[in-house]
């Protein structure tokens, strides 16, 4: 064996332990820093805020589980205030939440401990709510503790790492563009997707069909989006399929009369047991049934009804009417 190779081998053998050592050193740092999911990220921020509040109250340290569960409760509290307020807004046919909805929501959540004026909650004026006054007092008395670190606004919405932002580039680019939303579109509907997502969809599909027919949306392209042209096409399509080949898409001057035939067979008179020339069918309007099975079943039903009637008249229920 070549001595050079040997040395290489020994080097290769000596490498693995070094790597593992490095890994051990790095691992704990990585675990602490990276939030794996967006909810993880927001939860971590919330945890920091809650820890700060605890500190301001007077605590010096905290158990890990205790802080985590207090954060959980706090986020749930915040969300239920918001949900309650949003429900109040939706109940009065609004999508935007206003101050009154929010006060109602806060009152709902404060009602567990109770507050002054809580017994007449939905009768007294909302602006003089006791729950709100407590909050005002809290703001006036407590010390202002701003959050420890500034937060980049974009990251809160979900992407803590730049790679994820690239992956969801479609969404971000759509939101960055100035909105050209019409007034008739409700604001809560999501933005329209980017044009390149749907514009060339048709090209992938097969254009020519078996009998030389075109797809409807391709025939629209020829008309360069003219609305009247579209209408013409629609009419032509209804009247005669062959006219589609006409490139100009104009109406033919002479139009044949459209006839409708329901069913290929000759009209048949149904033997329904009722005299067709009397009563309901007196006007000589006839109903044709192309399907014999239906015909049979109908007559069967009719027979049943007839026998039923007979039985009832025998019992004497309907004698008076006869």
């Amino acid at each position: 064996m070549n001595p050079m190779q040997k040395s290489i081998n020994t080097k290769a053998n000596s490498k693995p332990p070094r790597r593992t050592r490095n890994k051990k050193k790095r691992d704990p740092g990585v675990d602490v820093q990276v939030a794996e999911t967006p909810s993880d990220f927001s939860f971590t921020i919330a945890k920091t805020a809650v820890a700060q509040i605890c500190q301001s109250v007077g605590y010096k340290r905290s158990e890990y589980n205790a802080l985590e569960s207090l954060t959980n409760v706090a986020t749930k509290y915040l969300q239920s205030i918001a949900r309650s307020a949003a429900t109040y807004a939706n109940d009065s046919n609004r999508t935007d939440t206003n101050l009154f909805d929010l006060i109602n929501g806060i009152q709902d959540l404060c009602s567990i401990q109770g507050f002054s004026g809580g017994s007449v909650m939905h009768k007294s004026s909302l602006l003089s709510s006791g729950a709100l006054k407590e909050i005002v007092d809290f703001v006036n008395t407590s010390n202002e503790v701003p959050f420890a670190k500034p937060i980049q606004h974009k990251n809160v919405s979900g992407n803590p790492n730049p790679e994820a932002a690239i992956d969801s580039g479609i969404l971000t680019s759509a939101s960055q563009e100035p909105k050209v939303q019409g007034f008739h579109i409700p604001r809560w509907l999501p933005d329209f997707p980017d044009k390149f997502l749907y514009k060339n969809c048709g090209k992938v599909l097969v254009k020519e069909r078996k009998c030389g027919e075109k797809l409807w949306e391709h025939s629209l392209d020829v008309c360069s989006g003219n609305v009247e042209g579209n209408r013409d096409i629609l009419q032509i399509n209804e009247i005669d399929g062959k006219e589609e080949k006409d490139a100009k898409m104009e109406l033919t001057k002479k139009r044949s009369i459209v006839k409708f035939k329901i069913g290929e067979k000759e009209e048949k008179q149904i033997k329904m047991g009722v005299n067709m020339l009397n009563g309901v069918f007196k006007g000589r309007k006839r109903v044709s049934w192309t399907n014999n099975i239906i015909d049979d079943s109908m007559s069967q039903v009719n027979k049943d009804a007839k026998s039923c009637l007979k039985r009832k008249t025998e019992d004497g229920f309907y004698e008076d009417f006869n």
């Binding site: 927001s42 919330a46 805020a49 700060q52 509040i53 605890c54 301001s56 109250v57 007077g58 605590y59 010096k60 340290r61 905290s62 158990e63 589980n65 205790a66 802080l67 569960s69 207090l70 409760v73 706090a74 986020t75 509290y77 915040l78 969300q79 239920s80 205030i81 918001a82 949900r83 307020a85 949003a86 939706n90 999508t95 935007d96 939440t97 101050l99 929010l102 806060i106 959540l109 567990i112 401990q113 009768k123 007294s124 004026s125 602006l127 003089s128 709100l132 407590e134 909050i135 005002v136 809290f138 703001v139 202002e144 503790v145 701003p146 959050f147 937060i151 606004h153 809160v156 919405s157």
Partner: protein
């Protein structure tokens, strides 16, 4: 709603006080950052462009957390007060105030939240068993 003419003045005062308070929220920075609150608000269908309302929600949540934490702190202090003096000296060093699950669950119970926490977690099925039987 109060339709008495007498109370209209009072209500007017409330109105002014409230609008003052909301205006003061513009300068006040709650501990819970706006971005976080907005994230959670959007998550639960709350839609409002007004920053003051966002701040109000933040302040309400902050008040709640502070109250719970304050309650737990009282529990913690009360527990430490019950320890006899001679032992207390021993613990003087680590008399630091620590938020524990025990105090927190007591405090949260008053707010209608039932927190149940495990006494301990067993690392393995054999943990806590008699050492003699473990050998077998």
């Amino acid at each position: 709603m109060n339709h008495n003419p007498q109370s209209s003045e009072g209500r007017h005062d409330d109105d002014v006080a409230l609008s003052d308070f909301l205006a003061s929220l513009m300068d006040y920075t709650p501990t819970i950052p706006d971005e976080l609150v907005e994230h959670y608000l959007a998550k639960s269908g709350f839609q409002c462009p007004d920053v003051r309302l966002t701040r109000l929600v933040a302040v309400a949540t902050q008040k709640f957390v502070a109250e719970v934490a304050g309650n737990a702190l009282q529990h913690c202090k009360a527990r430490q007060a019950t320890i006899p003096k001679d032992k207390r000296d021993k613990q003087q060093k680590d008399k630091r105030l620590v938020l524990t699950m025990e105090d927190l669950s007591k405090a949260l119970r008053e707010y209608g939240v039932n927190v149940k926490h495990q006494e301990y977690f067993a690392d393995s099925p054999s943990a806590g068993m008699d050492p003699v039987t473990r050998d077998e």
